[in-house]
Symmetry: C2
Subunit: 172 residues, 2 copies
């Protein structure tokens, strides 16, 4: 008798899609990264371009997981990272993020504090689906949400600098 | 209607033990480490002590997953790593490794190349359960298996140095 006979859920086949779904959430909680980059773009009325991205990195000698993730989500591309020693799978297409990435992590949630990054990432992507990033007020809200993500990461353009160009008075 | 209605497996509740099991295998495939340290020990007849260990590291601000892993396996301890910025959960007790860790990863397998490290780790731990590490021939086999693990990692004592003390002629 195994302890699993007492569980409410049936035993999970290791090669089932449900196993892979939960496995991927665990893997991403360690190695994945949700980012929103905000860069100057003179051709846009608001002056800034918002680009969401979801990526997973891995040592090049262990690329199997990236290929499994790419097949699972059915989108994104794999390429060497700046350092030659790692590979990165990344998707930046809003339609794929909305239709494939967000539903996955809402169904199979992250368990670490990274879920707070995901929540903000999801809010920004859904706001973009409604065109918020092309409007002054919407962009301000997106910049504020993005500033709360990945506190240990680096930003090329500080939120304060972006907000200053939008004539927003920055606290402090 | 969701795409999951077509799956052979039923939907997995995100708070079920089965979700956590698969999630942990994914997390460990990214962040976990199976090690076997071999150190000189004059009080042992064979002259060397073999110590297996399984650990998972995490930034200190995201310690939730380590506590979930500790509760899941029901063993090991959490402590700051050498660098103050990370926490590490680790178990080194052979009985817990044999009874809790190995069965988990045989039921919910790693998908990356790290599974080869796990296979060798499991072979060494099971050999130790039979006392192989206390015998000359068994120790030689363990050192050989350990030398094939974590090729990118560092060893305090090179396999060749250990084998030389055991009067084994090293190839090359």
């Amino acid at each position: 008798m195994t302890i699993y006979e007492c569980d409410q859920t049936p035993a999970l086949a290791y090669n089932s899609r449900e196993f892979l779904s939960a496995y991927i959430s665990g893997y991403v909680d360690g190695e994945g990264c949700f980012t929103v980059s905000i860069s100057p773009r003179a051709t846009l009325l608001v002056g800034w371009e918002v680009r969401p991205g979801f990526s997973v990195s891995q040592n090049g000698d262990r690329a199997e997981v990236l290929h499994a993730i790419q097949a699972y989500f059915g989108c994104g591309s794999i390429r060497p990272d700046r350092s030659d020693k790692t590979l990165k799978w990344e998707t930046r297409r809003l339609e794929d993020i909305l239709g494939r990435v967000l539903p996955h992590f809402e169904r199979y949630p992250l368990l670490s504090g990274k879920r707070y990054d995901f929540d903000r990432f999801a809010s920004i992507c859904r706001a973009m689906a409604e065109g918020a990033h092309l409007r002054h007020d919407g962009l301000i809200r997106i910049v504020e949400l993005a500033s709360e993500m990945n506190p240990s990461g680096r930003r090329r353009y500080a939120s304060e600098a972006v907000l200053a160009t939008l004539n927003v008075k920055v606290k402090g």
